[in-house]
């Protein structure tokens, strides 16, 4: 076991992937000489050279579009989109090309492309630097979408994403980049939990609380605080947003009868909407209350000094827990 920050764990995962497979190439803006604005690719260009760790022109569509051509040629590109809010210029190449080429080519052309996206807020950043665009991609057939929440998962899931023959949007919670954790760099991928499987972070009996990425730690804190209040919360780290590991969530909800979903992204058409609908369809007779979503507001990401009024935090999630339990809460007496 090594103690690493999440950013260093990603760095270790990339180094391992570059060493294991010479078809792996890293591409992105400022990832080479600088080592990435978050230093996730620190030292990799010096170690593997400029043809393996490629500083690209400032062109997100160019990064993703050339990666499609590289995948055609048999490469396994790993791309960095510098910030969540910078991904939109590449949207067509991701949604119309990367996602669809395996289908379009009737299985003949594989797109083993990993697109790393630092995402989420809580770091006091400027506009376009704190967004959570994951639902756009979870909506797109042909893509896999995952989010890591801790160093151990970051190390393993990134290698799994790179090894996958399907394209993966890999969301990294930038507010957790500098948080340390234990990483087992010797474990084999074959023994690791598949990235499509969710993790039950804390077990509980009263409420199932599902989240991913930067809010997993907040959800842990919610479980701790609720326990002091006599409420037992089971926290599930979703890890994979597409496809969703419904088996894990269903099993939990069948025991607790109550579901709260929280994410930083807005509510409308979000990952939580899909989870609430699907769990309602699958577990209706086990539910004691309607699923509750605690999400960012459906607004453009606000200025830094207002982001605490946008992001779900411990108290807002606890308020959602009260709602699902039928306890007094902020919306008591308010008609849905």
């Amino acid at each position: 076991m090594t103690t690493l920050t999440l950013a260093k764990a990603l760095n270790a995962g990339l180094r391992r992937a570059l060493a294991d497979d010479d078809k792996v190439v890293l591409m992105g803006e400022d990832i080479g000489t600088l080592g990435g604005v978050f230093r996730v690719t620190d030292g990799l260009k010096a170690e593997f050279g400029a043809k393996r760790v490629v500083d690209t022109p400032l062109s997100e569509a160019g990064i993703v579009g050339t990666a499609v051509g590289l995948a055609y040629r048999g490469f396994r590109p790993v791309l960095e989109i510098q910030f969540d809010g910078f991904i939109y210029p590449a949207f067509d190449q991701i949604v119309a090309q990367v996602a669809k080429l395996h289908y379009r080519s009737r299985g003949n052309v594989r797109m083993p492309i990993t697109i790393r996206v630092p995402f989420g807020g809580g770091i006091g950043a400027a506009e376009h630097h704190s967004e959570s665009p994951e639902a756009y991609f979870a909506h797109t057939a042909g893509l896999r979408v995952v989010a890591c929440s801790n160093p151990a998962d970051a190390y393993v899931m990134l290698r799994q994403a790179i090894a996958s023959d399907d394209p993966v949007l890999f969301f990294e919670p930038k507010r957790r980049y500098h948080v340390k954790g234990e990483v087992d760099e010797t474990a084999s991928l074959a023994d690791a939990r598949p990235m499509g499987v969710a993790t039950t972070v804390t077990t509980g009996t009263d409420v199932t609380l599902v989240t991913y990425g930067g809010l997993v730690q907040t959800a842990r804190d919610v479980a701790t605080a609720a326990a002091e209040d006599g409420v037992s919360i089971e926290v599930i780290d979703l890890r994979s947003l597409a496809p969703v590991d419904y088996a894990t969530i269903e099993a939990s909800v069948r025991r607790t009868g109550r579901l709260v979903i929280t994410h930083e992204a807005g509510q409308q058409g979000g990952v939580g909407a899909e989870l609430a609908a699907s769990i309602t369809e699958r577990c209706f007779e086990f539910l004691e209350a309607a699923p509750v979503r605690v999400t960012g507001h459906d607004i453009p990401y606000p200025p830094a000094k207002l982001e605490r009024h946008h992001l779900p935090d411990l108290d807002r999630i606890l308020d959602g827990v009260d709602r699902v339990l039928g306890r007094p809460n902020s919306l008591s007496g308010v008609e849905a």
């Binding site: 190439v25 043809k51 690209t56 022109p57 062109s59 569509a61 160019g62 993703v64 579009g65 050339t66 990666a67 499609v68 051509g69 590289l70 995948a71 055609y72 040629r73 048999g74 490469f75 210029p89 067509d92 190449q93 119309a96 090309q97 080429l101 395996h102 289908y103 379009r104 080519s105 009737r106 299985g107 003949n108 052309v109 594989r110 083993p112 057939a141 042909g142 896999r144 996958s164 023959d165 399907d166 499509g196 597409a242 496809p243 969703v244 590991d245 419904y246």
Partner: protein
């Protein structure tokens, strides 16, 4: 065949120069810089280029007819662009890789794509026609200009592997306004990618004239991106072949990308769903008919003493056979089975798709007892409609 000892760059920095080796009247124009690149093209080889163009024109005409007869859902005719496509495609090596738009039927034909595979998509029977690795030609691209980035990435990869194979991107005048194309030009120049940007300027992007895309010759843009650009008569198969060979030679020698503007004309509609009478004149059409890519080759061959009547007769017979083969190929394209809609969404097992496949399978099984005389796929869609009523 290719005078590799020459420095090609100088040849291509005359974007306002219009390279034409065969005039519309069929006169051979001497060009000290381009002639060496087609010195091997004797009358026999020129006859073969004529044969290529005549056959693809016949195939194209037949496909248009098949659409009119309801056998194809749509067809984007290449009529008028035969020289641009044949001249460039015949310059390629087998291990070069083609990234095309949806109109490059002649290129596909040169790459050995079968008649049935050419039609599959347009009949609505499959998402694509052929395995790209069988012909080193990518799945044709419908998003305008997107493939130029793919070609660039492929070329970067080929160079990184130490191969001297090149990529060629086919796109149109309209595509040059797309961000993707401009980004591809930046990447290709920055990384010296062995890629040829082959722009068929056919004057029209559906109803929009090229003047709306650019205030100057498209080839002039190349200079701003830091690569040579050349403007050739796209209806002159010899000039196109020469320009493509020069560009490929540069690519193979590690000198990077080249932009070729092949000035041509789309004689037909954008697709069979288009009505060009709404946006262009008969006079313009007549003007371009005078610059026909096939007629000038015949005239040149005749002046060279070739039995042109005999050649025309033989090629027409061969083209008719190709057209008949195309029509016959329709019968070999089976209607797809209903559940194949779920195939190949992912390369690896995916729980979400598998669940939907399972649910839809159960749904279809409800109609399993319904009388059916046709294939499973057709029967399924009929019974679904019945079920909906």
């Amino acid at each position: 065949m290719t005078p590799s000892d020459r420095d090609a760059t100088g040849l291509l920095t005359r974007p306002d120069h219009f390279v034409q080796l065969v005039t519309p009247a069929g006169e051979r124009r001497a060009d000290a810089e381009f002639d060496p690149w087609v010195a091997d093209v004797d009358t026999a080889a020129l006859g073969r280029l004529y044969r290529d163009m005549a056959i693809v024109r016949r195939i194209d005409t037949e496909a248009t007819a098949l659409q009119r007869q309801g056998e194809l859902g749509l067809w984007p005719p290449l009529m008028g662009q035969e020289a641009a496509q044949i001249g460039s495609a015949r310059g390629l090596r087998d291990d070069d890789f083609v990234f095309s738009s949806y109109r490059e039927h002649a290129v596909a034909w040169c790459r050995g794509v079968s008649a049935a595979d050419l039609l599959r998509v347009w009949r609505g029977s499959a998402a694509s026609g052929w395995n790209p690795y069988d012909h080193n030609m990518a799945v044709p691209q419908i998003i305008i200009g997107a493939q130029t980035l793919h070609a660039t990435g492929y070329a970067m990869g080929a160079a990184w592997e130490g191969s001297d194979a090149a990529a060629i991107a086919y796109f149109g005048d309209g595509a040059t306004s797309e961000g993707d194309v401009n980004e591809a030009l930046v990447f290709a120049a920055s990384f010296d990618a062995p890629v040829v940007f082959f722009c068929q300027n056919n004057q029209w992007a559906i109803s929009e004239p090229v003047g709306l895309q650019s205030k100057q010759h498209l080839a002039r843009r190349a200079d701003g991106f830091g690569m040579p650009g050349v403007r050739v008569d796209g209806n002159d198969v010899l000039a196109v072949l020469a320009a493509t060979r020069i560009a490929l030679d540069r690519a193979r020698r590690g000198e990077g990308p080249t932009f070729i503007e092949a000035v041509t004309y789309r004689m037909g509609p954008h697709t069979t769903a288009d009505d060009p009478k709404r946006y262009r004149t008969d006079e313009e059409l007549a003007e371009w008919r005078e610059r026909d890519p096939l007629a000038r080759v015949l005239a040149l061959l005749e002046a060279s003493g070739v039995d042109v009547a005999g050649l025309e007769r033989d090629v027409a017979a061969e083209a008719d056979r190709a057209a008949a083969e195309l029509r016959a190929a329709l019968t070999t394209i089976a209607d797809p089975e209903a559940l194949t809609v779920f195939d190949h969404v992912y390369a690896e097992p995916n729980s979400h798709v598998e669940r939907q496949r399972d649910h839809y399978t159960r749904y279809l099984e409800m109609f399993a007892d319904a009388p059916t005389e046709q294939s499973t796929g057709a029967a399924a869609s009929e019974t679904i409609e019945g079920g909906a009523r």
